[in-house]
């Protein structure tokens, strides 16, 4: 096209934004490594068995919330069904380890593959609907999982639960917890690496376009169905893997607990609290909610769920974009009070 129409000088704004984005992404990789190192080194300082137990829970939820955010943050599809994959992964590992008498580590690896396939298949079905319909469909997944686990008695042990062998042979509780903190921290590093990687790819940009306006993304040539299904399958794989590791950690699977919408809701709450459009949002959310949840569980057991509800309400009303986005906005406002983009645009008169 001839460029006679617009005479504005060649601007470098786009380029500088690109550079800033690349730099931020590169620093994120470094920061993820640092976080994994700090979490894995945690047990050196924290020797108390109960605190280590809470630490395993916290890092596990960091993994799961970040995994949830592979779908929720990029595509905007809010899944309340991720507990289904958590439970499925747990049973998968437990059943394979028990029935085939292979090592637990092989059972876990098999779980990863199976969860990827099952996640893709369920994604193909569930992602046909949008918005609140999608939320309802995903809730149904959790109940289906729960019913299946209690019904298939010969495989799952029914409502009595299932015993699972451990991944490590440490005798002491505290040592075992320490090993699982390291295990989940490594998994956290992988899933955060993946999130950060996708964030900068064309794949990630297509997913974000789905979040903003799915029809328009399609009309610009984005194969939205394929994009969504891949994101959903990846998300399910990591949550399922976390479920498998969880099963070997506790040594026992309770179908009512693992297939509970409450676990799904926790992942949503953590992600919203921290901020779904940031790599660090879900991690921050888990770092706040798991310890405070444990605190209320110990000190105010009868109000434990109420406090969760109050927190969710407060986040939605006061910080709809999450802590990180809110802080970032305050920071930007303090640094550059001169002119908003709208004012600049108005002055240019485009």
């Amino acid at each position: 096209m001839p460029s006679a129409i617009d005479a504005s000088p060649r601007s470098q704004t786009g380029q500088s934004g690109v550079v800033a984005q690349r730099r931020r992404q590169a620093w994120n990789y470094v920061a993820v490594l640092a976080l994994v190192a700090v979490l894995a080194a945690g047990p050196v300082v924290v020797t108390n068995s109960y605190y280590r137990y809470a630490g395993v829970l916290m890092v596990m939820y960091m993994v799961m919330a970040t995994s949830w955010n592979l779908v929720g943050g990029f595509t905007g599809y809010v899944s309340l069904g991720h507990a289904a994959f958590f439970g499925f992964g747990a049973y998968c590992t437990g059943i394979i380890a028990n029935e085939s008498r292979t090592s637990v580590i092989l059972a876990l690896l098999a779980t990863v593959g199976i969860c990827a396939v099952v996640g893709a298949v369920i994604g193909i079905v569930a992602l046909r609907v949008r918005g609140s319909s999608f939320v309802i469909v995903t809730i149904a997944l959790v109940y289906m999982g729960s019913l299946l686990a209690q019904g298939l008695r010969s495989l799952t042990g029914g409502s009595g639960g299932l015993d699972v062998a451990g991944l490590y042979s440490f005798s002491g509780r505290a040592a075992r917890h320490a090993a699982y903190i390291v295990t989940f921290a490594v998994l956290l590093g992988v899933v955060m690496w993946l999130w950060n990687f996708i964030d900068g790819t064309k794949f990630g940009m297509g997913l974000k376009a789905v979040r903003e306006d799915e029809d328009r993304a399609q009309s610009l040539g984005v194969n939205t169905t394929a994009f969504k299904v891949v994101a959903f399958a990846l998300s399910a794989t990591f949550v399922g893997s976390a479920g498998g590791i969880y099963a070997t950690w506790t040594g026992f699977i309770d179908p009512i607990f693992v297939f509970s919408v409450q676990i799904s809701a926790q992942l949503v709450l953590m992600s919203l609290l921290g901020g779904t459009r940031s790599l660090w949002g879900p991690v921050l959310g888990a770092a706040i909610i798991v310890p405070s949840s444990e605190f209320f569980l110990v000190n105010l057991p009868e109000y434990h769920l109420v406090t969760m509800g109050v927190m969710l309400g407060a986040v939605v009303l006061l910080m709809p974009n999450g802590i990180i986005a809110t802080l970032r906005r305050l920071w930007v406002r303090r640094r550059a009070p001169a002119a908003s983009i709208r004012e600049v645009a108005g002055a240019v008169g485009a």
Binding site: V18, Q21, F197, T201, E212, R216, S219, L220
Partner: protein, 242 residues
């Protein structure tokens, strides 16, 4: 490239939006599609671009049937469209809004950086054409309504479409902006792109279009050069009820 629809029919509940509509758009021209509200213009757009299925009839593009194809395939076949109510990816930057439209194929393409040099250059070129390059790093939510119209145009041009379908490009923007958008449409057409616009601004339609199709109650009632259309009695009746 040539777009034709044959016997398109679409009902929403009891409302007939398209009633056995058959239209041949003129390849290489700026085609106007006019008619009263509810005469089926936007429904025609939505069926052609695959957003909604048709009840009956066929759409052919460049001689190939595209009826019922997935919207992204139709887009890749070379049809770009804008929407009646302006739509931008609000929580992405202006530059990203254009980069999304970059043709993508194969796993390798998808998992490499989205912000690689040559693409950014191409996207910036399009932003410069429409006069938004100075806002490349702004969130799309923060730019004005008229600027979003230009952004939509830049995004579909990034896909290098052979057919550009614009749904009310002049709706809700000031006269200066209308001139600018008209110029951009002319340039796109001069570059070999066939244009179809739905528009209520008659001044713009008459000055811009080579060929005009008039819709009423879900089917074309007249077509021809702007001059002949303006004096067509059926058209006056449909518009003015005389």
């Amino acid at each position: 490239m040539s777009l034709a629809v044959r016997g398109l029919t679409k009902q929403f509940g009891g409302v007939v939006a398209l009633d056995d509509a058959t239209v041949d758009f003129v390849p290489g021209a700026i085609n106007g599609l006019i008619g009263p509200n509810g005469s089926g213009k936007t429904t025609l757009f939505n069926i052609v671009t695959g957003l909604i299925p048709t009840d009956a009839g066929e759409v052919t593009f460049a001689g190939r049937p595209i009826t019922g194809m997935a919207p992204y395939r139709i887009a890749r076949a070379g049809i770009g469209r804008t929407f009646q109510v302006v739509r931008a990816f609000d929580r992405m930057t202006v530059l990203e809004n254009v980069l999304v439209a970059e043709r993508r194929s194969g796993l390798r393409e998808l998992i490499r950086s989205a912000i690689r040099g040559s693409e950014v250059d191409r996207a910036m070129d399009w932003l410069r054409q429409v006069g938004l390059d100075h806002l490349a790093d702004a969130d799309a939510a923060d730019i004005s309504y008229g600027q979003k119209k230009l952004l939509e145009l830049a995004a579909i041009l990034m896909t290098d479409p052979s057919l550009v379908m614009l749904d009310e490009p002049a709706g809700g923007v000031n006269p200066v902006m209308i001139e600018r958008i008209s110029d951009l449409i002319r340039v796109a057409n001069a570059n070999g792109r066939t244009i179809v616009i739905v528009e209520h601004n008659m001044e713009m339609v008459m000055s811009l279009c080579d060929h005009v199709v008039v819709f009423d109650r879900g089917r074309p009632i007249a077509s021809g050069a702007p001059d002949t259309i303006q004096s067509d009695e059926r058209v006056l009746e449909a518009y003015l009820g005389v």
